[in-house]
Amino acid sequence: MNYPRVDAYSEIESVIHNFNPRAKIITFTALIFSFAFIESLTVALFAVLFSVSLIFISKLPIGFVYARLKYPIIFIFAIFVIMCFTVEGNIIIGSYFVSVTLEGLKLGLLIFLRATAALIIAFLMLATNRFDTIIKALYMLKLPNVVVQMIVFSYRYIFVLVDEFQNMKKSMSAKGFEIKANRYGLSTIGNLIGMLLVKSYERGERVHKSMISKGYEGKPRMDTNYNLMFSDYALTIFMIVLALGVHIYPVI
C-alpha cells in the first residue's frame, strides 16, 4: 500500500533540496527555535514571509504543501480564535457574552504568525530530503545511540504495522463491524489494539533474532557521505545570522 509521505517530493532539485542534510538540520532547527520565540509582530510577519518564500525556492508542488500544512495551520488558527475571545483587556468588538479584546487579538496573532513560520520551516526540513537521510544526519549529529536506533526501527516498522492494522480492520469490516464510539465499538477497538500489540511484540522478538543472527551487539553502523561544500557553508552562515537577527533586530 502507499501512504501519504512527507518526503514524497524529496527528489526535486532545488537550493534547499541540495543543502547538506546535516547542515540543514542544524540551521533549520536553529530557525525553528528562533522563530518560535519572536516577540514582535512585524518580525513575526517577516518570518512568515521568509518561510513562505523558502517554499517557492524549494519548488515543492503547492498542492502538496497545502495538503500537508492545512490541518496543522487550522489547529494553530483555532488557538488564535480562542485567544481573541478569552484574553482580558480592551474590548474592540463585543456584546454581552462574547467579546474580542485588542490584547487577545495581538497575542493571538503573534502566536499564529510565529507558529506558522516555525511549522513551515520544520516542514521544509523534512520534505526536502528522504526520511532516511534525516535519520542518518541525526546519527551523525551524535544523538544518543539508543534514541537513533529507536527512531530508525520504529519508523521502519510503522509501515509494516500500518499494513497489518489495515488488514485487521478490513477483516473486521468484512464481518459487519463499523467503528463507533459506543461501549461495544470501543471494547472491540480495544481487542484490535491488543491484537496489534501481541503481534508486534512477537515480531519484535523475531526482528531481534534476525539481528542477532547478523552479529548485532547494540551499535549498528550506517554509511553516510555528505560532504560539505562552499554553498553549504554560505547557506549555513546566512541562516544562522537570520536566526539570531530576528531576536537582535528588535533590541536595536
Binding site: 502507499n2 485487521m168 478490513k170 473486521m172 468484512a174 464481518k175 459487519g176 463499523e178 481487542n191 491484537m195
Partner: protein
Amino acid sequence: MKKTAVSIKNLDYTYPNSKKVLNDVDMEVFEGEKITIMGPNGAGKTTLLLHLNGTLKKSNSDDVYIFGQPISSMNIKDRIQYVGILFEDPDDQLFMPTVYDDVAFGPYNMGLDKKEVEKRVKKSMTRVGLQGFENEVPQHLSTGQKKKVALAAVISMEPKILVLDEPTANLDPKSKSEFISFIRELNEKEGITTIIATHDVNTISYLTDRIYVLNEKIVASGTPHDIFSNPELLKQFNLEAPDPLKIFRMLECFGYDSKNHPLSINEAAENLINTMQENGDIMNLQMDKDAYENIKQLVNLYTYHPF
C-alpha cells in the same frame, strides 16, 4: 438457467497516491460455481476480492453486483450476509479473547439474537471439526487450527458466496487437504459459490470450475484445461500448471492417448485406469525421432527450470 451470483462490470481501482491496481475488470460468476483467480504477485487479486463484499468500493459507480443488486446500494448487513471473505493470514482475523467471541462476531454484527448466535457458533465449529474449542484463546492455537477458526468465523454468517484469499498458504500437506475437502463440501452440499485467489495449483482439481487470470485486468478466462493448455499464457503471467498435467502431456509424446489431462494425483489415477480399460488393458508407448524434441520443448514451455 443458473442465476448470476457475482457480476463485475468495468471495475477500475486506484489506491490513493498510487498507480492503477485494477483496470476495466469484467467477471461473471454463477450460483454454485467454483472460481479460481490466478495471477502473478501484485496483480491485484486481493484488491479484487475486497470489492466483492464492498470492503473497498467507489461511491459513485455501480460496478459490482451481487445477485443482481449493485453492492453500493446494499447496507452492510446485507452485504456480509451474501458474501463472506476469508483472508490469508488468520492472525489478521482473530482478534477476540476467545474462539467463541471470534466466531460470534459476524452473527452478532448482523443483529441476530443471542440464541441464534449461539446456535450458529456451535454449528460452524462442528463444521470445521473444532467443537469444544470455543473457550480457547485463538492466539494459542496452531496455524492449521487458527485457519479453521477463521473459516468458522466466516461461515457463521452463512454467506451464499465464499471468497478465499490464498486459503492453503503456510499449511502442511495434511491440513491443506482437510481444508480443501471442507470447502468442496460446502460447495457441493450447500451450493455455496466459491471464489478463490491462489498460487497453489494443487487446489485447482478440487476447487475449480473456471479460472480467471488477472493481471491488473482479466487477461484470460476458461476451464482449467483451457488455461493450462496455454503454456505461453502461464509463462507470461508467472504461473504454472499442475505437475500431473505436465507429465501426462509428456506421456502423449510417446503415444499415450487420453481424453483429457489430469490436474491431481486422484485424477491421474482415474485417467490411467480409464485409459487402459478403453484401450483393452494394453498400451504401447513408443519413442520416435520427435519424442525427444517434443519433451524437451514441453519442459521448457511448462517449467521455469530449463531442460
